[in-house]
């Protein structure tokens, strides 16, 4: 059995706590986010959900820690203010690089 963790602002975290996620960390700054992220890595959480706003702040840190490992899975979600479009842009970039043509999404 593996568990799910959430890193985000207070409202997102409250929501996911309601949804049944126990490992939750409220963060407001990049430093706090990095600390929370490292803590979850140490606890060997297999799925970490993080708000896009925070993920963008600590993107380098995430990439350095995760690389191409299968676990943990990082899921970026828009917070209550809506999507910043970061994650799907990343996917589009990736596709463009790999296939060599832009896919219309």
């Amino acid at each position: 059995m593996s568990s799910v963790a959430i890193i985000g602002d207070i409202d997102t975290v409250s929501g996911f706590r309601l949804g049944g996620v126990k490992q939750a960390e409220v963060v407001n700054t990049a430093e706090e986010a990095i600390a929370a992220f490292d803590k979850f890595l140490e606890d060997e959480i297999s799925i970490i959900i993080i708000t896009q706003a925070m993920a963008n702040e600590i993107r380098e840190h995430i990439n350095r820690k995760i690389g191409s490992d299968v676990l943990p899975m990082i899921i970026e979600i828009p917070d209550k203010d809506g999507s910043a479009g970061g994650s799907s842009d990343q996917i589009n970039d990736l596709i463009k690089r790999v296939i060599g043509v832009e896919m219309v999404k």
Partner: protein
Amino acid sequence: MAQDIIDGINPTRMELLSLKNRTKLAVKGHGLLKEKRDALIKEFFDILDRVKGIRENAELSLKEANDALLEAQIAMGDLAVRKAALSVKESIDVDITSRSVMGVAVPVTNVKMEERSIIDRGYGFSDTTIQLDEAAKKFEESLKYLIELGEVEKTIYLLAEEIEATKRRVNALEHIMIPRFQNTEKYIDMRLQEMERENFVRLKMIRSTIEKNEKAAAAAEAAQNAEA
């Protein structure tokens, strides 16, 4: 490019033979890698079709959940919601295994999440409202979508990396290694032919010298015989 050969190679028949074997191997490997790349790309496109719908679903359900949470916050107050949230029991059980796509391990999640009634969630009834129940339900739902989304996106990243690596190898073989082997083969072949021609000429020269000497000797002998 045409002159690109392996440095410091001896133009001998042995080298030529081993080089021919290496070329054969490289061509075979190139073919295999190309097939691998095509298979990976096919797999990649299959998953791309899946991700489109999933991301939209997940974002929509998350938005609904956030709206429901906002309603609960309005009805109960921010602090009460946070307090209730803290006492919710863990609801989700994810099983992550991996599956191999052309040698790339990609995650497969298996989410076990029972439908929970209000009683199972673990917060009290006296100070919570129906809006909170609704929000909790919506978040449980979107959690399911999000995990699915995570699985698919991770798979896409892993496959993309493998495709890039395979592509690089295919290109390296096709444009650098194989031409270099072929050029070197050609170089050795030409050197060997050149050496053969040199040898041939040398033999001709030697023979003509020997014949000349013999002729001179025979002539001398004939002259001596004539004198005697």
